[in-house]
Symmetry: D3
Subunit: 118 residues, 6 copies
């Protein structure tokens, strides 16, 4: 949990740095990135799963951790999330296994009880 | 349409070659690949969209074309599919634009009328 | 030359399709992509060379062709462009050679005479 | 050595988690991954070297460490392993150097004396 | 066969262009690339298989075709080559299937009779 | 600063190991890598920016850190470097954000005062 917080703290500190020091293109891109996962024709929760699988096949641990948390918050069950990771693993191959493995570790920290929606 | 058929014909001929000449690992992998997109906790149609986004960020035109067709068959509207591609484009960056552009060309060939579910 | 035109024509047709049929995120991303290469602290012409090298190490032929043309229009000499491609080839390895090779083919079509700035 | 054990311990814990919590596709993929490196027409030891080079060009440190250990166990000398890494470095480019560099660090921990074949 | 020749002819024409117009770094890299696959502690034929698998997981059709031909020339049987491709497919995932499929098409053109070593 | 030194110390130790234990191809590649960034038609400082963007789209933190330092030494201002990273972020997509974010952290350690050219 401490590690997860630390990840989130560093993430927030550096993100603030990007928003403060970055140029106009940087700010526009970060805003666009946020907007991409909002409800549209596809609900936000579904887009989170798309973002998770995209992150997993591109093998970016920070991105995977972020979308895992967002998918969890959005109400996907642990088993549904693990099933989405299966698609990533088959598309992306055994090279994704260390990343999927770490994702299992992140999921495990949540416990299997239904998350509080808060 | 002729091009799409040609893609499918070559795909089928070479896939048969893989099944005939490939070793046991090859056959197992191809079977596993098929099984990955069947209904589970997540419905098959949702997995197709995951496969599409994974293919788009990894920039594999043949994989994109295949999952576009499967997603279309699974009942996703053109606009829903284009929205899924938005996630891929933002995650994967402008380097995905030529692939997303070609995907738009494939979608256009279907027409915007509701597909026959057959 | 016919091939280059055909590439540009298809590119334009599909780009128009993206702008017409794509959602708000798609339009914003395409606009942002355009804005990225405008004069800033770094002049536009320098950013084209950055875009070229990024495209080359990510091995996207359409992107390479586009940034080759933009770099040429921006006034870089053929030899300067080939030197930028050297950086891409060493960073990206021999897997980039087929793409760099095709880039040499594109450059050759321009001739070695100074381009018209028009 | 402690670090290597720690890597292996975490790897084993999370792999057990994947086997316990993962769905059928996950289990089938992990089994298939194991089976891929068994003796076939090509001996297992040769496949380990193929797996090492594949891991190196895809720049996955955990995968590289795993295949380094397997290649070492399979009887390849340190110099032979370093020569395989040369192929990866030239194919994959300077972007692989940090990974190859860390691989040299792993190899160094084995010492240069002949490994016990047990 | 005509296609294979055409690939080789274009490859040769553009490679000559690179050697003629490229700078010193380009020439050194192309020479180094050639040298990488010569007999060392590992025989040249084994390095070709490493190059093939590296090319397949990085999904470069031209590189795959080149190393397929070199591996064939080096005396690997079609079945041995297909087994090496299995490693690539499992490491690299289903995203490699279109490339492996095309590799099967290239192999098929050789016939299954023992190649002439000339 | 301690972290930066530690990165440089490990980098130097392992690089020395590569030069000592690596074969002829390894040494030639490392020499070539050095030579690539020397003044040519394009000045060395410009090539550093190309190397930085290439490293960022390929998402190699060690490579990014190295080219950040080299770009800083070469006299690029923090804002110019951040603008180069914008190109990388738009080309490479949101998957590059964690790497760009860490780059902002590295840049921040330099302070915003003009660097000593020593």
């Amino acid at each position: 949990m401490a590690d997860a917080e630390s990840f989130e703290q560093q993430r927030e500190r550096l993100m603030n740095l990007m928003l403060k020091k970055g140029g106009r293109t940087t700010k526009r891109f970060l805003n666009l990135d946020q907007a991409t996962y909002r409800d549209g024709l596809l609900p936000a929760r579904q887009k989170e799963l798309l973002g998770l699988v995209a992150s997993a096949v591109l093998r970016c641990d920070d991105c995977i951790t972020y979308h895992l948390q967002q998918s969890h918050e959005a109400g996907w069950s642990n088993d549904e999330i693990r099933e989405a990771l299966e698609v990533a693993m088959v598309v992306g191959g055994s090279i994704t296994i260390p990343h999927v493995r770490r994702a299992y570790g992140v999921i495990e920290e949540w416990g299997e009880a239904p998350r509080s929606s808060q």
